[in-house]
């Protein structure tokens, strides 16, 4: 006990110190107690699976050979991926898909939020209606869009027909990506809209007042006040829609034409996104080692892009106001 000598001289201070130390110990104990369910989940559902997944990617695991022919194959699965043209194709396809979806979702979500933030009547009702598609089960939305884009009797072909055009386009076969994009953009607008709206409503009214006094035009107010203060939210949404778009997997499976979806569905090539290919590689063809290697390459690429985006934030995200400095 280092404090023993001091406690003779200052008994009171020592007891306070001891009490403070025990208080701190109790506080630490309470903290770890409260977060323990999450912490256990983090270790057993995130960290260990990541390590195990990496181990699988270095093996010839196929789901059944755990006790028989399982062996270490080094980076063979990774080399195979780099020489597999289908791997590159689906990687590029997913990149293009993400490059379309991310800016489009952000524009739609921010546009809706700006409209809803312009002092309209019955805000709650409008908000609810725009959010509605986001809560519909993915399976139901896929069937809805199949009915819209159906070759015979679909809504799109009916509209084209009514306008005097050719009305027998098989959208799901001929333009599968357009259908997928429509489904994804429509389905994900509501959540982002709500987050942008929260961001807009947290911008202090005084700033707008001040800008108006200075005679700023509406566009100038948007560019010089709204947009800079919204950049943290834009960053947040940018990263989450990037990760969301890169992970799209259920929609292409469910939109596969002439089938009823399912993991084994034959997805038309333009919709064979990376995750679709990787999941089918594993669960349809049983090639765990190769599928895990594919996913690891993909995840590393995604993390690099995310890190680059975070870093780019130094140049365009505004953290000046105290209100925005906590998280």
């Amino acid at each position: 006990m280092a404090t023993a000598q001091q406690s003779v001289a200052e008994p009171h201070a020592a007891s306070t110190r001891r009490r403070r130390a025990s208080l701190r110990r109790r506080e630490t104990l309470a903290f770890y107690g409260f977060i323990s369910p999450w912490l256990l989940g983090f270790i057993f559902l995130s960290i260990l699976p990541l390590a195990l997944g990496f181990a699988i990617s270095l093996s010839n695991f196929n789901g059944f050979n755990l006790h028989t022919s399982l062996r270490y194959v080094g980076f063979a699965n990774y080399r195979r991926a780099f020489h597999d043209p289908e791997f590159w194709q689906s990687l590029i396809r997913t990149g293009v898909f993400t490059l379309i979806v991310v800016p489009a979702t952000l524009a739609i979500q921010l546009g809706l939020a700006l409209l809803l933030n312009s002092r309209i009547k019955a805000l709650g009702l409008w908000r609810t209606l725009f959010y509605l598609p986001a809560i519909i089960p993915i399976v139901a939305t896929a069937y809805i869009w199949k009915a819209i884009t159906a070759q015979d009797g679909g809504l799109v072909n009916r509209i084209i027909g009514a306008l005097g055009g050719s009305s027998s386009i098989d959208w799901l076969v001929g333009h599968p990506r357009a259908t997928l994009l429509a489904l994804v953009l429509w389905g994900s607008a509501g959540v982002g809209m709500l987050i942008f709206l929260a961001g807009l409503q947290s911008i202090p009214e005084e700033l707008y007042e001040a800008a108006r006094i200075d005679g700023a035009s509406r566009f100038a107010v948007f560019r010089k006040v709204t947009l800079p203060l919204l950049t943290p939210v834009i960053m947040f949404q940018l990263i989450f829609s990037l990760i969301g778009a890169a992970q799209v997997v259920a929609q292409p499976l469910l939109l596969a034409p002439n089938t009823t979806g399912g993991l084994g569905a034959s997805v038309p090539p333009p919709n064979q996104l990376f995750n679709v290919q990787a999941l089918q590689e594993i669960f349809v063809y049983g090639d765990y080692g190769y599928g895990a290697a594919m996913i690891w390459i993909f995840v590393l690429a995604l993390m690099l892009i995310t890190a680059a985006l975070f870093f780019s934030g130094r140049f365009w995200v505004y953290y000046g106001s105290e209100q925005y400095s906590n998280e």
Partner: protein, 294 residues
Amino acid sequence: MSSLALLHRRRAGRRRPWTLRRTSGRVAIYALLLFLVVVFIAPIAWGVLESLRDPNAGLLGSLIPHPLHWSNYRLAWSGLLPFAHYLKNTVVLSIIYTVPVVFTSALAGYGFARHRARGRNVLFMCVLATTLVPFVITFIPQFVVFAHVHMVNTYWPWFLWGLGGVPFLIFLFRQFYANFPSELHDAAAIDGCGSLRIFLWIYLPNSGAVLAAGTIVMFTWVWGDYIFPALLLYDNQTTLGPKIAGGYTNATGSFAYIPVTLAGAMLFTLPVVLLFFALQKKLARGIVTTGLKG
């Protein structure tokens, strides 16, 4: 600027004159909103409309089906698929996931917001970092383990995922509890309440909006999920997601009754829509007031 000018300006702003330009601007905003709502709701309306067509004729026929085949809903409920059985599975699975996920996320959010300890900031960074990890990379090894310990085709994985909490909710609760008035907390602490009791008696009962927002977000997600039930459940244990995805067909599976499938999809959708309408005010409040400011 001077506060006097501000005050003056604010007073003037309250009773702004109704100029023609302002009115037309307002009209344009409402017109645009109306147009966008039609674009957003039309697909849903079309789905409902198509669910009322003659099941043997597919989607062909006049724009508004005539007559309306409400019998499709009866067929979807019991004629071609034991809908109620899979509905029960979906309800059970959704509760098994939602209850623990909301509770443990609240616990963790409270821990991060109200307790100081070594490692807190690093661990909170870990919470945020896990949102950046795509699900497939952790799911594949989990699946291998679940298969090994015979948890495939049971609801255990959802319960375990629920216990682990969800980063988005932990973040939401942390933001909410960090701004919680500390007077109540202090009063209870002086009365000798332990941390857990303070959480259960003071924090939890006063977090209605966030609890509602968390519940609705997680419940609608797990309810409508397709990919995890498709990968982990089969036969009698599965939920409506994969079942409806399979569609309604004739006995041999050679002819798909598309309108009946859409009717089934609508029946599958209805419970979460009702839940959403019941809790939507709290959902917006829960997300807006907690300051999800990025």
